[in-house]
């Protein structure tokens, strides 16, 4: 890009999103849309603020609603307005906003928008081409549409929790975070961008109904098919398999201890050539010719001894040095990293500038993390911090909707902008 060319615009430049989301699932979706250049306007309400605004950490001191790091992380690249949808004038503000917007996303329980008078049909009356996304635990149809979920309970219902753990443990390890909040958000973002493409082609909007549990069940297919095709239930064969691999067949395929407290390396050999390379580089070339380990079927049969041998060898070694040594022989190996490792010591993340410093009016200087989708011509961005509550009221009600200062003051007084 030379100086004479115009600044590149991100791919969703010009798309306006009304964001009725909170907690993690919906905001994950709208963060991605914001990164891709959409103008995302969070519609917030003083009486029922997003609890993420209050959650820890508060690096510059607890001063809600704008001091939360998690909110600033998850809700960057968005604007914020305050509206009370239960107030007639508040509902009118939202309807006016719908007329000049492209997408409306919400992740409330399944009857909330309907009760406010903002069903899909009512949205269409304001803007026939609106793309409406409802993201709830069970979807907006079916006998259990009034049931609700959080990420962890959705994961449990979908089957995903049961598929993570050690075979002999009394309970699954599951997921140590709301995986399906993120995945449901990503699912919504994919559907929205596809629907935008369709709308630009045909002029047609639509309603996208998402169930968080369904987004999870869609990720369990091989295990589900083993049941529907082969009649095998998931637990029939000693699942979940810990860090071993059932499919594709591979051995070794496990975590092994390294020097220090609670440090681990994942080593996976999915072919004989990787196994042979591993033996060469591991100072144990005789493992190659040991009948117990010479072939994949033999290694699978003797996996306990295999893992014990490898664990004895890795224990006490520096994990990162060991990873480099194995990688130098082209063996798939990686240390188990946590978030701090990604931010502080991961050379790959450093080289690609995964974190950059940004400023927030309350939190101050801080790091924000990467853009996952790197376009050559229309780059995404990470320039706006998480919005202070109501920071865009003047912009949206004055500049976009054309209300006078007097009218805005009135709406503030009468509770419509509550």
């Amino acid at each position: 890009m030379t100086d004479s060319e115009p600044n590149p615009r991100p791919p969703l430049d010009g798309v306006r999103v009304i964001d009725f989301t909170w907690i993690v699932a919906g905001p994950t979706c709208t963060r991605l849309l914001g990164d891709l250049g959409a103008e995302v306007i969070r519609v917030e309400n003083q009486q029922t603020l997003d609890s993420i605004r209050f959650g820890r950490p508060h690096p510059n001191g607890f001063d809600p609603p704008d001091s939360g790091a998690m909110f600033n992380w998850l809700d960057r690249n968005k604007r914020s307005i305050t509206v009370n949808a239960r107030h007639p004038d508040g509902l009118d503000l939202i309807k006016r906003l719908i007329r000049i917007s492209d997408v409306l996303v919400e992740n409330y329980s399944s009857r909330i928008l309907e009760n406010w008078g903002l069903s899909y049909e009512e949205q269409q009356a304001e803007s026939p081409e609106i793309i409406y996304v409802s993201l709830s635990g069970f979807g907006h149809s079916g006998p259990q549409r009034d049931y609700s979920t959080w990420g962890p309970t959705a994961q449990a219902l979908s089957g995903l929790t049961s598929m993570s753990g050690m075979p002999e443990a009394p309970e699954p390890a599951g997921w140590g975070y709301s995986y399906l909040d993120h995945m449901a958000g990503f699912t919504a973002a994919a559907a929205i961008t596809a629907a935008l493409r369709h709308r630009r082609e045909t002029g047609q909007g639509q309603w996208i109904d998402l169930s968080q549990v369904e987004t999870g069940m869609a990720l369990t297919a091989p295990a589900t098919l083993d049941f529907t095709v082969n009649g095998r239930r998931y637990r029939d064969t000693g699942n979940p398999p810990g860090n071993r691999s059932v499919w594709p067949q591979a051995a070794p395929h496990n975590t092994y201890p390294t020097a220090g407290d609670d440090n681990w390396i994942m080593i996976t050999c999915t072919s004989d050539s990787e196994w042979e390379a591993f033996c060469e580089v591991s100072d144990h070339p005789h493992w190659r010719t040991d009948a117990r380990f010479a072939t994949l079927p033999a290694r699978l049969r003797h996996q306990d001894e295999l893992d014990e041998n490898i664990g004895s060898w890795t224990a006490g070694q520096d994990g990162r040095a060991l990873m480099q040594r194995l990688q130098s022989a082209d063996v798939p190996a990686g240390v188990v990293q946590n978030g701090v490792d990604l931010v502080v010591s991961d050379p790959q993340m450093k080289a690609r500038e995964w974190t950059v410093t940004r400023h927030h009016p309350v939190i101050g200087e801080h790091l924000t993390d990467g853009l996952q989708i790197r376009y050559s011509r229309t780059p995404a961005h990470r320039d706006l911090p998480g919005p202070e509550l109501g920071e865009a009221n003047q912009y949206v009600f004055g500049d976009l909707l054309g209300f006078s200062d007097d009218r805005i003051a009135e709406l503030q007084l009468n509770g419509a902008m509550g």
Binding site: P59, W73, F138, P143, S148, T149, W150, P152, A156, L157, S158, G159, T161, S162, M163, M166, P172, A173, G176, Y177, D181, T187, T193, A194, A195, R197, H198, R200, E201, W207, I208, D209, S211, M217, L219, P222, A223, T224, T228, Y234, P240, G242, N243, S245, W247, P248, H253, P257, I265, V331, P332, G334, V336, Q337, G339, D346, R352, D369, S376, T378
Partner: protein, 413 residues
């Protein structure tokens, strides 16, 4: 009609991109899977039909290959690349997953420069740059390095490692970024007429997908403690998974916040003659019910709840708690989900004809219900090279003799 109607995707990816390609197919794109003449490696992933391996018997492939057309083409041969470039000239999107320094058959940036309207997506373990870009990789190594696995495991079984959730989740996570990246680029192209190259590092996709680990790391450099069946946290928290009388587990995360819903839940438990301490007035204060702070009131509450759950069957607890407004759930295995009438009534599980085997197979279906451009499973996963003649001769105009010669030379299958 799908949302990506008339979009053609050439999918040269390996298992790293199988889910990305499937998402685009589900949204209505014509996805042409370019397989090596020996078959995509995904065909060797089980489980298999009747437990007998074979390239057309992989249930993994039946799912991830569904809705795609298959062309067997050796991209390591000059003739193969020539045909690929001809196909690319007529495609909207090329999806590839080769690491830059590992002998890839074409350079995605050069291809993108050569065909300015084309969107070229490189979905690779670490991206196109950086010291690890060519590191050997597997889905499990990706989850280990990228952060998700570090938050999963057992606090109550000493010496156990972090646990990797099974089923190709590095591919699932980055598949969504890939699909979204492509759709947004297609949207932009409708206005500009131009394609571009997209570089996605699966490692970076993992790094966002770790919830509160990210802000704790970015702002405080504070690692979280992994715990069985619940969120990793800066401090230890109370268990969420409790065994039932019928040998199953209930997840009680989602304790009621309002007084009304708390009283409804207490009512449900006390109707069964249990939970005497739940009437404690202290528990009327929502803050005294808040999990994660190691409060004595919460210990008292959870003891009663655990006792109630241990004395009842999972389905009864699940239905009763949800009716009372608590977002509790059963920890189900994938096979157990099929019995739930709610998913049946929404049409989630779908029956797909596998005519050549004279059988109907039930699959998990749509991750989203789009009212005007319905998601599609598409036709059953293709057999290796099933569409080679249809595409190379019927659409590209290759003569049948030329095709025969290429097949004989091992370039095409």
């Amino acid at each position: 009609m799908g949302a990506l109607d008339r979009i053609r995707v050439l999918d040269c990816s390996d298992p790293k991109g199988h889910f990305a390609g499937k998402l685009l197919a589900g949204l209505g794109a014509d996805v042409i899977k370019i397989e090596p003449p020996g078959g995509d490696v995904g065909r060797t992933y089980g489980p298999f039909l009747d437990d007998r391996p074979g390239p057309e018997r992989s249930l993994y492939w039946w799912h991830y290959g569904a809705g795609k057309r298959s062309v067997g083409l050796d991209l390591d041969s000059a003739d193969g690349i020539e045909l690929f470039l001809q196909l690319a000239a007529d495609a909207d999107v090329v999806l590839e997953s080769c690491q830059p320094g590992r002998g890839r058959p074409f350079d995605p940036v050069t291809l993108s420069d050569h065909l300015p309207e084309l969107i070229v997506l490189s979905l690779t373990p670490f991206g196109q740059t950086g010291p690890w870009r060519d590191h050997a990789w597997s889905d499990a190594v990706g989850l280990a390095l990228g952060g998700p696995m570090g938050s999963c495991g057992y606090d109550n079984i000493p010496g156990t490692p972090p646990i990797r959730p099974t089923e190709h989740h590095a591919g699932h996570i980055s598949g969504y970024f890939a699909a979204t990246g492509v759709c947004a680029a297609l949207y932009e192209r409708q206005e500009s007429g131009l394609g571009q190259h997209i570089d996605i590092s699966m490692h970076e996709c993992m790094g966002f997908t770790i919830e509160s680990s990210a802000p704790w790391a970015l702002y405080e450099q504070h690692p979280l403690i992994r715990q069985a069946g619940r969120h990793a946290g800066p401090q230890p928290t109370e268990p969420w998974q409790y065994p039932t009388s019928d040998g199953r587990l209930i997840n009680i995360f989602g304790m009621p916040r309002s007084e009304a819903s708390w009283l409804a839940l207490v009512g449900f438990i006390q109707e069964h003659g249990m939970g005497p301490n739940l009437s404690d007035v202290e528990l009327l204060d929502g803050r005294k019910r808040q999990l994660g702070l190691q409060q004595p009131t919460v210990a008292m509450m959870l003891a009663d709840i655990a006792e109630f759950i241990a004395a009842h069957e999972a389905e009864e607890i699940y239905a009763g708690a949800q009716a009372a407004g608590a977002a509790w759930s059963i920890i189900r295995t994938p096979d157990e989900c099929l019995a739930d009438e709610h998913w049946r009534s929404r049409g989630f599980f779908i029956d797909v004809e596998h005519e050549e085997r004279n059988r109907t197979v039930t699959f998990p279906g749509a991750p989203y219900i789009l009212s005007e451009t319905p998601w599609t499973h598409g036709v059953r996963a293709p057999m290796l090279g099933e569409h080679t003649a249809e595409i190379l001769c019927g659409e590209l105009g290759l003569g049948i003799d030329e095709l025969g010669a290429l097949i004989a030379a091992g370039v095409v299958r």
